[in-house]
């Protein structure tokens, strides 16, 4: 089964607008994380939300987690051209022995100046 699937797959917005992307997962989790990846580059950790948390903020980022619906959302407020990247959610499953992360397919965000 797929774990950590994002939607939309791609998002195009104007600078200054908000960008919202969603992630769904299937199994119980300990934590959910969001990462950013610029084209062909490494993964940059953005924010981690624990399974007992419902919302978390970090600068212009807001993450929500609904464990009853097995979903999370990432909101980037007042987007900038530099926010253009792919965004991935990654879950850390309760049954994972080695703390592996399971990534979704990502949302490609284009912020037009």
């Amino acid at each position: 089964s797929q774990q950590g699937e994002e939607d939309p797959q791609a998002l195009s917005i104007q600078e200054g607008e908000n960008a919202t992307m969603n992630c769904s997962y299937k199994t119980s989790i300990n934590n959910l994380q969001w990462y950013r990846q610029n084209s062909g580059r490494g993964l940059v950790h953005l924010i981690l939300i624990r399974s007992n948390e419902r919302e978390k903020h970090s600068g212009r980022l807001r993450v929500t987690l609904d464990t009853s619906k097995k979903s999370s959302s990432l909101l980037i407020t007042a987007s900038r051209a530099a926010d253009t990247a792919s965004y991935f959610c990654a879950t850390d499953g309760r049954k994972a022995a080695g703390n592996k992360l399971t990534f979704g397919g990502g949302t490609r965000v284009l912020v037009k100046p």
């Binding site: 300990n30 490494g42 993964l43 991935f88 990654a90 022995a97 080695g98 703390n99 992360l101 990534f103």
Partner: protein, 113 residues
């Protein structure tokens, strides 16, 4: 800020050759990981390593793959006989406890020709 260092950043190798990808995790981290990302696809877990042994591995991590922590600082991934389909970006990561402090390196782009 501490970082995970990967070398080389790019490697081109002939099919059938052995390659070793190198990583220096964050010094006080205890868990080490390898992931890969085939171009345009999601990030996939390969293996996790803790206390000098593999704690979990995926189906991708077959007999052609091995990992080693030869000294107190390096963590390597060896592919014994590379195939064209091994072409991907390989990410090393380390974490201090479980999914907390999970930090990825900037990756090694492996091209098998």
């Amino acid at each position: 800020e501490p970082e995970v260092t990967q070398t080389p950043s790019h490697q081109v190798t002939q099919m059938g050759q052995e390659v070793i990808l190198r990583c220096v995790p964050i010094s006080n981290h205890l868990y080490f990981y390898w992931y890969r990302q085939i171009l345009g696809q999601k990030v996939e877990f390969l293996v996790s390593f803790y206390n000098n042994e593999i704690s979990e591995k995926s189906e991708i991590f077959d007999d052609q793959f091995s990992v080693e922590r030869p000294d107190g600082s390096n963590f390597t991934l060896k592919i014994r006989s590379t195939k064209l389909e091994d072409s991907a970006m390989y990410f090393c990561a380390s974490s201090e406890q479980g999914a907390f402090g999970y930090t990825f390196g900037s990756g090694t782009r492996l091209t098998v020709v």
